[in-house]
């Protein structure tokens, strides 16, 4: 009896907690509302299954608990029932998987009009690079990282000269413009994560990873590191500021390029030529 009641209370309690919980996702600030929807579908399906199974167990415990003289049924198997259950499960799984794969397809197809923004992770801070006037990021290589070249930009790649370097905690982005985040690390694994954008991706030294999104709400959002990167991992914070186009342009005008900041030797020789 007690067991059955507790099992029912677990179901009821979990459902009530779910709806009353003050802990829930942050208000979204990107186009990935689809992801939230998939989560909601998944919550409904899995919640129903959880409640059904546990309530069924509670019923069995209440109804079939041992009493004197009681004897269990002898029922080795029931193919029909098993097939039905298997079929229903497959349908439920498909109902979650299909929208999920569909959204994943969108998540990995970057729209052609997306602009690029690079994030460089290094223990334990973020830095950013924008492609500058030519719209192209210069090549980079970890082996070139030095005090006068913290991003490891290839000095002889002309695309890099006008790249805008933002050696600050905050990156600004214009609202409603899709952006492809290119992620790079010069030392170890990190993960660029903004809860309000519902997206994250690891950064790997020696590789460039990416994800894309469209900011849909102005404001300031915290960047967290979501991959263990040594003892400073929880302190690796930054931010993304989503601006209106005017604010963004004003901010961008105040930033400096690679050439302005580090004036690499190659550039000087190039000027003399």
């Amino acid at each position: 009896m007690v067991v059955a009641v507790v099992l029912v209370l677990i179901v009821v309690g979990s459902v009530v907690f779910h709806f009353l919980s003050p802990w829930w996702w942050t208000p979204i600030a990107s186009n990935w509302g689809y992801i939230d929807n998939t989560i909601i579908i998944t919550f409904w399906i899995t919640g129903a299954v959880f409640a059904a199974v546990v309530l069924f167990v509670a019923y069995c415990v209440w109804r079939f608990r041992h009493k004197d003289g009681q004897k269990a049924d002898y029922e080795p198997e029931n193919k029909r029932l098993e097939n039905w259950l298997m079929g229903l499960t497959a349908v439920g799984v498909a109902a979650m998987l299909i929208p999920g794969l569909f959204v994943w397809g969108q998540f990995i197809s970057v729209p052609a009009e997306a602009t690029e923004a690079e994030v460089v992770g290094a223990q334990w801070q973020w830095a950013y690079r924008l492609p500058g006037a030519d719209g192209k990021l210069g090549l980079s290589d970890t082996r070139l990282v030095a005090a006068d070249n913290p991003y490891g930009i290839k000095p002889d790649d002309p695309n890099g000269h006008d790249d805008v370097l933002i050696e600050a905690d905050y990156l600004h982005l214009p609202i409603d413009k899709p952006v492809k985040m290119l992620l790079r690390s010069v030392d170890t694994l990190h993960d660029f994560y903004v809860a309000e954008f519902r997206s994250k991706m690891d950064m790997i030294p020696g590789a460039v990873t990416y994800f894309w999104f469209t900011p849909t709400r102005t404001g300031q959002f915290e960047v967290l590191c979501a991959e263990l990167c040594g003892t400073g991992h929880p302190y690796m914070r930054g931010g993304v500021v989503v601006d209106t186009q005017e604010d963004y342009d004003a901010w961008l005008a105040g930033q400096q390029t690679y050439a302005q900041l580090y004036a690499p030797e190659v550039l000087k020789t190039a000027d003399i030529d």
């Binding site: 546990v54 049924d73 080795p76 499960t89 998987l97 970890t142 959002f221 991992h233």
Partner: protein, 596 residues
């Protein structure tokens, strides 16, 4: 594989009993023993002892999360060391060792009607190698720099770089310990596999084996295929660390200095690790599945529902779990198209897994449910396993994993499904088989106390934790109080979780006390207190002596689940009871007998 016409008397090849190895001294009887039952107890005691350390570490971590700064000796480095050691010990040195080395050794020969494992000497070496692995792991606390704080996943390059505690020698000892563990486990695992295939008594066809043996058997086969990946990953990382190779090390800058490594791939390690790591989840789950099936059937006095389906589900889950590993790497930066493949395979596994759950609960239906401690733990397992399995459908569905991965949602999910659920089965199994091992019952009142606190406490720890993850709180954060989107109430939740964790941990002391106290003071149990059908309960002596079955090995006439057979005098018929009631040699295919 299954031969339905295979009666007990038609056994093809009959070999004379091989003379058993007999211990001659106290040392070879109790310490360097080759008897699988003694080895089982050695494995289990070592695993539980080191598991206590992992439990204490979980207390310390929870203290830090709820009361940062209260325990002044916990700094970030110590926190990461605690996380790493806690996770690794729990997964490998406690649960894997206990299920396979402990229950595997004890139950396989007894349940199959064998006198011992087929290679007793290798079996003994397996335990001592495991013990050495544990000692090497513990030794890292006493080296300069202490144990590694790389996280239990040991991802390079960070695992061998500065800013990770234990960079001096902790990481090396961890890798060496894992290598030793794999070696020791391989010795034991070969034994379990060959014993299941070759050591069964007359009449014990594969399709008459109890599901416990099926679960342990398939888990062992999986471990033999998965652990080599961990083994090579450890060796390669040792080379990177000690010899300066670059398997996993790309060109990178450490503290402003370009390291001599170049060209390696950190992702390669992740593939190797999870090629082991995902099957590992099932290596601990399948024995739990098997054991819980037998607990439910015995204590509900009813045959397990859909035995053949249960066997096939175990086999299929075992096979599929080798093609899902990269669901741990959806946001690792691997080729994003892999996501489609791994999401599909991962969600397909949900189907055979769900079948198992249905069959457990359908076994309860029209049963005669005795709420003994093993049954209570089995019910608790169903609740926590279903909960944790369902949250797996979030994380397996690639795009849903994007916001949730590396958050507290993941921590809550895997604790529920591979921490709490298997541990509940371990408890149930100990309450179930303790009478066979010691000849005495565990105290029932203490068992109930232990059960309620552990089950409800663990649920209260991990259920609300999911919601912190949905909010976006990352895992492996030494401090998380200042995250911008976290309301102050989240801290209250953290305090609540910590208090529950302390209580649940304390309840385990009740259990340990019960284990020790009942060896002398428990009620004598007799040979078959649960009136169970399987062979280990039919031994002439309890506890079973060397050689297990006296002069004659038992002969098996029926499957393991003849409970409440219509027309039978008792509500169970042991597997070795001859007779044609019921007249089947394999798992019966159809429902027979009218409803009662």
């Amino acid at each position: 594989m299954v031969d339905a016409t295979h009666g007990p008397d038609a056994h093809a090849a009959e070999f004379p009993d091989v003379e058993l190895y007999h211990p001659r001294s106290w040392w070879t009887r109790y310490v360097f023993s080759q008897d699988a039952k003694v080895i089982a107890i050695q494995y289990a005691s070592t695993a539980l002892a080191i598991g206590m350390l992992a439990l204490v570490l979980s207390w310390l971590m929870r203290m830090q999360l709820a009361f940062p700064g209260f325990l002044t000796f916990i700094d970030a480095a110590a926190y990461y060391q605690f996380i790493t050691m806690h996770g690794m010990i729990m997964v490998i040195y406690l649960i894997t060792a206990l299920f396979l080395g402990g229950f595997g050794n004890y139950l396989i020969p007894l349940m199959l009607g064998a006198r011992d494992m087929v290679f007793p000497y290798v079996n003994m070496l397996s335990y001592w190698t495991y013990l050495l692995a544990v000692l090497v792991l513990v030794a890292s606390w006493f080296t300069p720099g202490g144990p590694t704080g790389a996280g239990w996943t040991l991802y390079p390059p960070q695992a061998i770089l500065s800013n990770t505690p234990g960079q001096e020698s902790g990481i090396v000892l961890m890798l060496v310990s894992l290598i030793l563990f794999v070696i020791g486990f391989t010795m034991g695992g070969l034994n379990y596999i060959v014993t299941v295939l070759q050591g069964r008594t007359r009449g014990m066809t594969l399709m008459r084996m109890p599901l416990t043996v099926w679960g342990i058997f398939i888990a062992t086969v999986m471990a033999m295929l998965a652990f080599p990946a961990l083994f090579v990953a450890c060796v390669m990382m040792l080379f990177d660390k000690l010899l300066g190779t670059s398997f996993f090390m790309p060109a990178l800058v450490e503290m402003g200095e370009l390291l001599p490594h170049d060209g390696g791939s950190p992702i390669l390690f992740q593939h190797l690790f999870w090629f082991f790591g995902h099957p590992e989840v099932y290596i601990v789950a399948l024995p739990a599945f098997g054991i819980v099936s037998d607990l439910i059937s015995t204590h509900a006095r009813k045959n397990i529902f859909g035995y053949r389906m249960m066997v096939w589900a175990i086999v299929i889950i075992g096979a599929l779990s080798f093609v899902v590993w990269a669901h741990h790497m959806y946001v690792s930066g691997m080729n994003p198209y892999f996501g489609f493949f791994f999401a599909v395979t991962t969600l397909i596994i949900a189907v055979p897994t769900a079948i198992k759950v249905y069959n457990w609960v359908l076994t309860l239906w029209r049963g005669d449910i005795h709420l003994n401690p093993p049954m209570l733990f089995a019910l608790a397992f169903i609740v926590t396993f279903v909960n944790g399995g369902l949250t797996g459908l979030f994380l397996g569905n690639v795009v849903v994993d994007v916001p949730l991965s590396d958050t507290m949602f993941v921590v809550a999910h895997f604790h529920m499904v591979m921490g709490v659920a298997p541990i509940l089965v371990i408890f149930g199994a100990i309450y179930h088989w303790y009478p066979k091992i010691t000849g005495r019952m565990l105290d029932n009142t203490l068992a109930h106390l232990h059960f309620w606190v552990t089950f409800l406490g663990a649920y209260l720890i991990f259920f609300p934790m999911h919601y912190l993850g949905i909010m976006g709180v990352p895992r492996r954060y030494f401090e998380s109080g200042d995250i911008s989107f976290q309301p102050p109430s989240a801290h209250d939740l953290n305090i609540f979780i910590t208090v529950m964790a302390l209580i649940v941990g304390a309840a385990q002391l009740v259990f340990v006390f019960n284990l020790i106290w009942s060896i002398r003071h428990g009620k004598p149990s007799g040979g078959n207190p649960w009136r169970a059908t399987t062979l280990e309960w039919q031994t002439p002596e309890t506890p079973p002596v060397h050689g297990n079955f006296g002069r004659e090995l038992p002969v098996v006439y029926r499957w393991a689940y003849d409970y409440s057979v219509p027309g039978a005098a008792e509500d169970f018929i042991p597997q070795n009871q001859p007779g044609t009631n019921p007249p089947h040699s394999e798992a019966p295919k159809k429902r027979r007998g009218a409803k009662s």
